[in-house]
């Protein structure tokens, strides 16, 4: 049958012809350009205008930037080197002042400490950011919050050790008190014990211990010496680290059906979100000491960190609440039907999913927080922008503008852009849907 058929329709081709390459005008760079740049007359015009714009930018930027003025010691020096009054970058200012923009007045012989801190930050973050690293590294991540301020501020080693002990004691109270007192009472007791430990026992104990075993680092003169990008990092890292747990607690409070708890959380969140950060920083610089018991006078950087943390935890709470609200109700009910109690359900079922949903929001809050650290220059702390103002007031560099701000902008850009790219990577990795 098939034989006869094959004979009757002899024009049917039996062998496959090799594919022919598509015409050169639709593939490769030419095809791509035709499709994306010159698909219609209007598109062509737009492309040409855009190209002209890009050319204009680069024709100004490259000749401006490509002057070798790195060794200049003043703006006048630069002008002499290039022979131009304007239109030439004066990189000498970066060469001479980059240490201040990065570290502020941090003592020169101690600068290895912030650098080590940054390296350790990478080590501490690595197991959190990349899940294929050994889980044991998380112990170091847990210790990092206590190592970091100690390295920056110096002083005796016993204060951070004893502060960490407070958490250990609280944990032990919960662990052993749970059977005797029940989980709720044990938790309250743990908080009370830890607070008593920190507020009343920590400083005398650390005095005693440091007089017996004086181990420590050389303390820095005053925390006003911490400046430049270092200050932005200190405030940013601490506030980011603290605002996430506080934000989670606030979000849970706002979602809870306990009326008083809910009202308190909503009031706090809406108040903080309703006022600009700068007013909170004014509170930090002028009012916070009035709210404290008479005689307390604690560090301005610490005060700023407290206010920035409160500020960003309110935003964090809203982001996480969004994640909680996006979870289907079945997840909560599923947790209940398995017999899990509130905290177990939160820890094992709700939070992992809610946090995953809110990753983009959390990271953009982090980015916003890191950018907002520049506001401390308004209350007189010397962050990069504060230093830029100071350098521009220096007689040698009056009139320097673009180089300085471009340098600072690039510093911030690298950090913030890096964070946003990481969040996109994380989103892709955690995506379980198709």
């Amino acid at each position: 049958m098939s034989d006869t058929h094959a004979q009757t329709v002899a024009y049917v081709r039996e062998t496959m012809l090799p594919e022919r390459a598509p015409p050169a005008t639709v593939v490769g760079p030419i095809g791509w350009a035709r499709e994306n740049l010159f698909s219609s007359p209007a598109n062509t015009v737009i492309t040409l205008v855009a190209l002209a714009f890009v050319y204009l930018i680069f024709s100004i930027l490259i000749p401006w930037a490509s002057h070798n003025t790195w060794s200049a010691t003043s703006l006048a020096d630069c002008r002499e080197m290039t022979g131009k009054d304007h239109g030439a970058a004066c990189w000498g200012v970066i060469n001479e002042r980059w240490r201040q923009i990065l570290f502020g007045n941090y003592p020169e012989h101690l600068r290895w400490r912030p650098i080590l801190d940054l390296v350790l930050l990478g080590v501490a973050l690595a197991p959190i950011l990349f899940t294929n690293l050994p889980r044991k590294m998380l112990y170091f991540s847990a210790a990092y919050p206590f190592i970091m301020p100690w390295l920056i501020w110096g002083g005796t080693v016993w204060v951070p050790v004893l502060a960490a002990m407070g958490f250990v004691i609280g944990f032990l109270v919960i662990k052993f008190g749970e059977e005797v007192l029940g989980s709720l009472l044990a938790m309250v007791l743990a908080v009370v014990v830890a607070l008593v430990w920190w507020l009343f026992l920590l400083s005398p104990l650390s005095d005693v211990l440091s007089s017996i075993l004086p181990i420590g680092l050389e303390p820095i003169g005053s925390s006003r010496d911490i400046g430049g990008l270092l200050l932005a990092f200190v405030i940013g890292v601490v506030a980011i680290g603290c605002s996430l747990p506080i934000g989670i607690v606030l979000a849970l409070g706002r979602q809870s059906n306990l009326l008083i708890v809910k009202t308190l959380c909503v009031g706090f969140i809406e108040f903080i979100r309703g006022v600009p950060l700068i007013t909170l920083l004014f509170v930090a610089s002028t009012l916070l000491n009035i709210f404290m018991p008479p005689g307390t006078n604690f560090d301005i950087v610490l005060r700023v960190i407290i206010m920035v943390t409160l500020f960003s935890s309110a935003y964090m709470a809203e982001v996480i609440r969004g994640g909680l609200a996006a979870l289907p109700k079945g997840q909560y009910e599923g947790g209940d039907s398995l017999g899990l109690n509130y905290w177990q359900a939160q820890r094992l079922i709700i939070m992992p999913q809610a946090l995953k949903i809110s990753i983009p929001g959390i990271v953009s809050t982090f980015i916003g927080l890191f950018k907002d650290t520049t506001l401390v220059s308004v209350i007189g702390l010397m962050d990069p922008i504060g230093w830029a103002t100071a350098i521009r007031a220096d007689t040698a560099w009056i009139g320097v503008l673009w180089e300085l701000y471009a340098f600072i902008a690039v510093l911030f850009f690298i950090v913030c852009f890096g964070m946003s790219r990481y969040s996109m990577y994380l989103e892709r990795k955690l995506k379980t849907s198709h």
């Binding site: 994306n36 007013t279 004014f282 850009f413």
Partner: protein, 409 residues
């Protein structure tokens, strides 16, 4: 035979406060309330003690004392003899001015950039991506300070406009951009009422009335279309109604523009937009526009392609698809984050203090605070004002959300 008896009545035990779910939530709330009250009590106690030690009492009487400082940009009558309260009001108005100007410019720029970022022209889309990333990842304070420095240091001084060998020239003989600010023509009325505010109010009322009439015309056109299937052509009527009444009012009241003129070492006449206003306005708008562009882009991308394809299958033309199908749905996604960007811009306008723009942070929480030494009162008032503005904006957002919510059947 068994006798029916009541179940033994459960007596209340103290441990039930902890282990019985009926009472436990009560216990937790009472503990929370006690803790919170104790905290507030502690704060108030500390504050009272510290204030007493400093010899201060909480009093808002300073608000009615003469402020004793000048404010260079004011919308209402103000002199250094006016009260601190008056100064605060000038500050609030200045905050509102920068907020309104900033929101308007940021919206326009943001929409253009967001749409262009979706352009099929690769190079345009890339340029817009660079813009968005550049502005989003650098602190707004840096943009503000940079804009101020550019205005002061790179713009020509007024005397550069002088003489025959002037190195700078005015744009269209009307706008002068100098290092002391931007001078633009100022409108004024020759034959209106004495009060400028009243004149503008009349113009505004007439314009609002004509918008109302235009809406009536549009509603009638829609009614006709629904009755007969043919939409009457009304665009010339609408355009005429929109422009003519306002133009007549302006003409009757004798509107004229006074251009700035160089007199001595500075420009006189016209409207003087100070450097601080321009720098703050541009920096805030450019920064917020990057965020709005992202909102616009995600809003448009959120509308599935099937929507526009279905509309095309119904025979709608591309511009009708955009205005009738895609845009109404995209707006529902875009507007809530857009309003929260407005909120952010308003709060960021408090950075005015970095460039010396006299908004509420600069007057009440700046100079008034320093002159009277009343940190607690001024900061409380300032926060209250910002809180009111924010809550008003979010109330507007809630009303909008409620109106735009999908009506599900």
């Amino acid at each position: 035979m068994t006798t029916l008896s009541d179940p033994p009545k459960e007596s209340f035990r103290l441990s039930m406060l902890l282990y019985d779910t009926r009472y436990r939530s009560m216990t937790i709330q009472v503990i929370a309330l006690i803790g919170f009250s104790a905290f507030v009590w502690w704060l108030i106690g500390n504050t009272a003690q510290n204030m007493a030690a400093l010899g201060k009492t909480l009093s808002f009487r300073f608000l009615w004392e003469p402020a004793g400082y000048d404010i260079n940009q004011r919308l209402i009558e103000y002199s250094s003899q006016s009260s601190h309260f008056r100064a605060a009001m000038v500050g609030v108005l200045n905050t509102l001015v920068i907020a309104v100007l900033g929101c308007a410019l940021a919206t326009v720029l943001g929409i253009i950039i967001g749409v262009l970022r979706l352009s099929r022209n690769w190079i345009v889309a890339r340029i817009m991506t660079v813009y968005v990333e550049m502005f989003r990842n650098v602190p707004v304070l840096l943009w503000i300070v940079l804009a101020m420095a550019i205005m002061i240091e790179t713009q020509p001084a007024p005397r550069a406009f002088k003489g025959d060998d002037a190195t700078a020239s005015m744009i269209f003989d009307a706008v002068a951009i100098t290092n002391r600010g931007v001078f633009v023509p100022a409108p004024s009325f020759t034959s209106g009422f004495a009060s400028t505010g009243l004149n503008w109010l009349i113009v505004l009322l007439v314009f609002a009335a004509s918008i109302f009439v235009v809406r009536l015309v549009r509603a009638r056109a829609t009614a006709t279309q629904e009755a007969t299937g043919i939409r009457p052509t009304t665009w010339y009527l609408q355009l005429g109604l929109l422009i003519v009444p306002t133009a007549i009012v302006l003409l009757v009241m004798g509107l004229q523009w006074t251009s700035p003129e160089l007199k001595g070492f500075n420009f006189k006449g016209g409207l003087h937009l100070r450097n601080s206003l321009i720098a703050l306005w541009l920096a805030l708008s450019l920064y917020t526009a990057a965020f709005i562009a992202e909102n616009v882009r995600s809003g448009i991308m959120a509308i599935s392609k099937g929507q526009s394809e279905a509309a095309g299958a119904l025979g709608l033309r591309p511009n009708r698809i955009m205005s009738l199908v895609v845009l109404p749905q995209a707006l529902r996604v875009i507007i809530p984050p857009l309003i929260s960007q407005y909120l952010n811009l308003t709060k960021n306008s408090s950075l005015a203090i970095a460039v010396g723009y006299m908004d509420i942070t600069g007057t009440l929480m700046g100079i008034s605070l320093n002159q009277t030494g009343r940190e607690l009162e001024t900061l409380l008032l300032g926060m209250l004002i910002y809180l009111t503005i924010s809550l008003l904006i979010s109330a507007a957002m809630n009303v909008y959300n409620a109106r735009m919510q999908l009506v599900e059947r």
